[in-house]
Point group: C2
């Protein structure tokens, strides 16, 4: 089948703009994502199931943490028919007020997190509403929400009018039980439950690893139940909102912020609305700009804002606040991982926070070697291969690994340099967690991270740090093996020497052997305790003594 | 830095829902993409430049084709300062009516293509408006649009009020020159022009390859000009809108369509609003559903719609209309590619159209071997490696190859089977073009295609077809090489035999050599013309004759 022009040339007639633009229409963001649900991670029957669980689970944990509550989650998946499931997710969070429930779950691009610089798993106000939209698209049914706050306890059906991106709410019914938290019950068709690396089960397992303060109960469609027990009872601190860091702020952002500022002077606006901005910085900026910082910030021109941004780039600001970023932490990672993986070696690297485009971020990496570390790789010498577990703000990323900055950074590391001959046979698990007040996801589906230059660089440096740790461990392991070999060799010779000496001197063989063994072990221990310099000196002394002894022998012979 | 809970435990106080939801806000799709511009492909300074060119170029070509005009494009990039550029793109399209220009270029999710099932490069109404938004974000400046339709000629400045996703238009000024088409002039900061595989130049080169009916002039920031001449003067047919194909339609879609149908009976609605739906199909559906198809389509229930969709799946519909899909075509590909690549071997595979989720799509692949085919791969034997050129609806895809179904399909092909020992050293270019009325892009940035099962399968089958073609060519090449070797060997021996015979018989060496050469060539030609069976027979006869000759000799000796 070839291009048609040749056959039907006469059909091509020029169309005027008026005619073409007769069809001009606007559409809602809900209709956009309805037609492009793959952009929300809702493509592939198995992947869709896991994405739905992901969206509700991250929402629940975020809600609990925002309220200072230790999360108790229950996830149930019931099979209702062929490719037809019911998913029920319940949390013990703060609940959703009646007046917000429609917007929160029945409208895309609405939420409490988008406009804040805060470390949260969700950040767009799309995910859960998108899942509820997909429930409606595939079954025609609204989702049933039960929620209890400190004041209200109710149930309501939630759907979406996708044409207008507005919630469709059923009748609000008050509940008599004093249930606290949120329970969402949705039905979906055209999805499939499967065990394996892309399953809800694996998603929850990884959630438990990175969130040991969560308790998660799971019942799969076969009725099997699993429980991930809470490994840490410390309530995480409330997430802290941060102001934009001046390094990386853009002119456009500065002007938007200036428009809504409470301050009457630009100096005050900069000091109040930016992170790490002290009087000294204001003085420095005043010297670099051509206008008076007493100017009303609402009246700043593009050129003036540009001068400020240029000044920002020249000033050595303190790095962004560390305490607003909350990595999982070494202690928690150790608690949750060591028990599961039982590795020979375990280490955590927590890089210092850095900034991209004004957003603070931080990378932490846990490396586990040996034991159950690595993913299964049958048919190889070790039966294992390197496993990269990706997390963004403590939420597992299971899909699109090829397009993710974490994977790209891992591929960019020369593992050979660190004593790992072939990553494809290494019993190695590398957990990478990127935390930020704004994760630069590649898409609304939040499945992978863009390789923004600064983020990629930090990821790579963190993985290289991890490489060095492993290298150190593997070198130690090799040196220990060599020592053990040396000990064995010495002891073997000691036995032989003891036999020879016993024959020469008539002394008891056992006694001689014991003494020689003691001598060898003492000497090896001495070597171990000595510094390199001391050891060199000892050996030189011994050599000299030996030479002298030979000379003495020579002298004797000459006599 | 470890998790903070341990240090500041006392700070964690429970927050109630009311307090948390005080911060509940909605945001516009423009604000969403402004904060997540990486989702529009606007991340990375070099990539952003190419993405901008891509968005305007695809818009221009689409507009020309919708109007039945042979596209003449001019792209100019001027460097205004460090990381500061002006991009000017001009086409000879139908122009934009005054009343639509704001919405078309200053509002996201508005356009003529989103709601239609039509093969076009753009399909979302996001790209060009997103680029104009980024111009404003990075420079504070609106973009200058000049446009001429059959009725109006004007210029206007276009910006975006991102908070409300509404256009901000400057004063509309009429032009006295009768310019026809659209010219957009934008300024951008924080972008960089570089030559190379990700450059606007490479993007335009590939656009020219897949769109030989386009004439494209390009001036780079150094003032160098390039011209991609039109290789084909056939005007492509106007794009044809198609109705949804019943196979793959969903209940939700059917109900949405029913709501807006002009028909008063469901039977009429199905026949008028779906592709490939004849009276026979309607009769079959009536037998399979439990209600009368005379029912008003607006009153269809979810369950009734479900019965129809179930019936759809059981009926053997004709595949979707072929003539609405417009691959590049073998002839055009040959015209544009052979001249550039000068390959030893060239072939095009055009698969039959198929359907995913109700959307017809089609895959075409061009394979080029030898000559300038393949991408440079220094340090290898051939200096070349396999090159996969990706296209979606004739528009080049330069980024995110790892996450793209085309690349995944190419990686899933066992090239060894087709005589390509190592793709990393093969002088091979594979051009893959997916055409569809709805390309399942992974994100709004349209950089990669999701691996929807049906699409992935077709891509893989097309690439395997390509593999077979190459295999056939390579086998032919090997056989030809063997023949040539045989010919050379025979001729060499013929010369030697001629010398010996000349000495024995006294005949002239030159004459003998000439006769022997003729004999050899005749024999080889005979072999070539014979079928395998004939050849076997000939050889057997010859062998027998030879044996007899030996026997004769033996007889003589015995005498």
């Amino acid at each position: 089948m070839i291009f048609m022009a040749d056959e039907k040339k006469e059909e091509v007639k020029t169309q005027h703009a008026d005619k073409i633009f007769q069809d001009f229409k606007e559409h809602s963001v809900a209709d956009f994502f309805k037609k492009n649900k793959q952009m929300l991670g809702l493509s592939g029957k198995i992947k869709t199931m896991t994405t739905i669980v992901h969206e509700f689970v991250t929402n629940s944990i975020d809600a609990c943490e925002a309220a200072g509550i230790l999360p108790d989650l229950e996830v149930k998946i019931n099979e209702l028919g062929s490719e037809h499931y019911e998913i029920i997710i319940q949390d013990n969070g703060p609940g959703i007020p009646k007046k917000n429930v429609g917007q929160a779950l029945g409208k895309l691009l609405a939420g409490t997190k988008f406009h804040k610089l805060i470390q949260a798993r969700g950040q767009q106000g799309i995910g859960a509403s998108g899942a509820i939209m997909f429930a409606q698209m595939s079954t025609g049914k609204p989702s049933v929400v039960e929620s209890g706050t400190n004041k209200e306890h109710y149930t309501v059906e939630v759907g979406i009018d996708t044409k207008n991106n507005e919630p469709k709410l059923g009748e609000m019914k008050d509940l008599t039980t004093a249930f606290k938290g949120t329970k969402i019950r949705c039905q979906f068709k055209d999805i499939v439950y499967r065990k394996g690396e892309s399953s809800p089960m694996e998603y929850l397992r990884r959630t438990a690893i990175a969130n040991p303060h969560c308790s998660i109960k799971f019942r799969d469609p076969l009725g099997e139940t699993f429980e991930f027990h809470r490994a840490s009872k410390d309530i995480p601190p409330l997430p802290i909102e941060v102001q934009p860091h001046p390094r990386g702020a853009t002119i456009d952002e500065l002007l938007s912020m200036a428009k809504y500022s409470q301050s009457r002077k630009t100096a005050g606006f900069l000091k109040n609305d930016f992170d790490r901005m002290g009087d000294k910085a204001i003085d420095e900026i005043q010297k670099m700009v051509e206008f008076d910082l007493n100017k009303d910030p609402k009246k700043l021109s593009w050129e003036e804002a540009e001068q400020i941004i240029k000044a920002f780039k020249k000033i050595n600001f303190i790095a962004p606040r560390t305490d607003i970023l909350r990595p999982i932490g070494e202690e928690r990672l150790e608690k949750s991982l060591k028990k599961i993986v039982e590795p020979e070696y375990f280490a955590v690297i927590t890089r210092k926070p850095a900034v991209y485009q004004g957003y603070p971020f931080q990378v932490e990496v846990a490396v586990l070697y040996g034991g159950k570390a690595g993913r299964d790789n049958e048919g190889t010498e070790t039966g294992k291969a390197i496993e990269i577990m990706r997390f963004a703000n403590l939420a597992p990323l299971l899909f699109e690994s090829g397009g993710c900055a974490i994977t790209k950074a891992a591929n960019a590391v020369e593992w050979k340099r660190y004593g790992i001959k072939d990553p494809e046979t290494a019993p190695l698990t590398v957990l990478v967690n990127l935390v930020s007040v704004h994760i630069p996801y590649t898409g609304a589906g939040k499945t992978a991270i863009t390789d923004e230059e600064e983020v990629f660089e930090e990821l790579k440096l963190a993985l290289m740090d991890a490489g060095r740790k492993i290298s150190h461990f593997l070198t130690g392991k090799r040196v220990a093996a060599e020592k053990e070999q040396k000990r064995k060799t010495f002891l073997k010779y000691a036995t032989e020497v003891a036999i020879a000496l016993s024959e020469l001197t008539g002394e008891k063989k056992e006694m001689l052997e014991k003494k020689l063994h003691e001598l060898v072990l003492k000497r090896l221990k001495l070597e171990e305790e000595m510094s390199d310099d001391e050891l060199r000196e000892l050996k030189a002394t011994e050599k000299a003594a030996q030479k002298e002894a030979w000379n003495e022998d020579d002298d004797k012979e000459e006599e």
